[in-house]
Symmetry: C2
Subunit: 240 residues, 2 copies
């Protein structure tokens, strides 16, 4: 299934005790629909407040419902902030996290004098002017294979912190800055820490040539703060 959601009212993807999650709602809705105990496996365990246009989830079922009909059947039962965009049957051994993929995230920053209420849930508001040319030049340093340890929340226990960013684009439409980052995998909070670092540079607080030394330091404390969750959207996961 390709799953879209508005993350505003969810404690992220993964089932947890502190609050309702997207995974939990999908498990419950699928189990009711199929009258069996179903647990989905998600491709990307997005954080609390993060949105998705195209997360991917897979499940096993004994149900006779054809794969492509699940989208319609589920959308009738799901809350309106979760929508299955597409569904189909896949090979029995398909695991959405153990495949080569390119994931694309978008981060939106509204850069103007006052926030705009109709944009507030899906972007971060920044009052001081951001220099996107500086941000573009700094972002270019991140493209390629690097050890992104400096851009990984220290809570993470992952051992190999080398990842490849295939593309970063930054553009501005009106007052809205769109930062799109694609890569073969992302560490815990990596996109939000990259964006927080780019903001420091765009504001002129840090020099635009600081990215290289941040990468080399392999030290979380050298990178910028983690940008707010609500500005982040998982746009697409491409299976290679």
């Amino acid at each position: 299934m390709i799953v879209a959601y508005d993350g505003t009212n969810y404690c992220g993807w993964q089932v947890q005790i502190n609050g309702i999650t997207v995974e939990e709602v999908l498990n419950k809705t699928l189990s009711e629909l199929c009258h069996e105990d179903i647990k989905v496996i998600g491709a990307s365990r997005t954080d609390s407040g993060v949105h998705a246009l195209g997360n991917v989830a897979v499940f096993d079922t004994e149900s006779g419902i054809p794969g492509e009909k699940f989208s319609f059947a589920l959308n009738q039962r799901l809350p309106e902030d979760i929508r299955i965009q597409e569904s189909c049957q896949v090979a029995d051994d398909f695991h959405p996290r153990y495949c080569d993929t390119i994931k694309t995230y978008e981060y939106k920053i509204l850069n103007r004098r006052f926030d705009m209420p109709t944009e507030r849930l899906y972007s971060t508001f920044v009052y001081y002017p951001l220099d996107i040319d500086k941000m573009k030049r700094a972002a270019a340093v991140l493209v390629g294979e690097h050890d992104f340890k400096s851009f990984c929340s220290s809570r993470s226990q992952v051992e190999n912190t080398v990842r490849t960013i295939t593309d970063i684009t930054i553009d501005k439409v009106g007052d809205m800055i769109h930062i799109r980052i694609s890569g073969n995998g992302f560490l815990y909070n990596m996109v939000r820490i990259i964006v927080g670092t780019l903001m420091k540079i765009g504001l002129g607080i840090w020099p635009e040539d600081c990215m290289e030394s941040i990468l080399e330091a392999k030290d979380r404390t050298k990178a910028g703060p983690k940008a707010e969750a609500k500005g982040l959207t998982l746009v697409e996961i491409k299976y290679l």
Copy 2:
């Protein structure tokens, strides 16, 4: 003041007993800020659930706060779904409704297989494909000075139903159809009834040449249904 708001959680602009309104929140916040009883006058009394990027409101005060500082002072106290975009002092006799203006509304329709959660609050979802070329040709008939009685909710008691639409543009970006309508004044529910009629035409339920006869009928029952509030945004009021 230029006032932007997300109408999702408000019973429209105008103070009423059934629920909280934007006007009420502004009155309360201004009165607290200035320690006097303040009542705003709004340019456009938008309906329940309708959004605004640029409604206009005016008030009298004895306060010594400079006009241009009210935006900052109010935004610190307002809920995040209302934001003053700009404020300034105006002439004592300025009334936001008794001036020549051009108002611009935008209506958004998401036209695809399934709704997108992150768009759902600010657009209307339509499953069946809309033919926007038909909609454009039908909309063109409405431009100019006409008696729009057919496009006015019958609850309205206004006597003169002649208005001028200066411009209608319809375009599609991805799956999102944007209908922009500008004019010197709009009757009660006029934009939403025009959009509801254009949808009938776009779906092929009504012929594209039906607009002229609907106008001529001067009969609300001949036009299409009123489109949902959440797709409508008051974009701008230009004072001439």
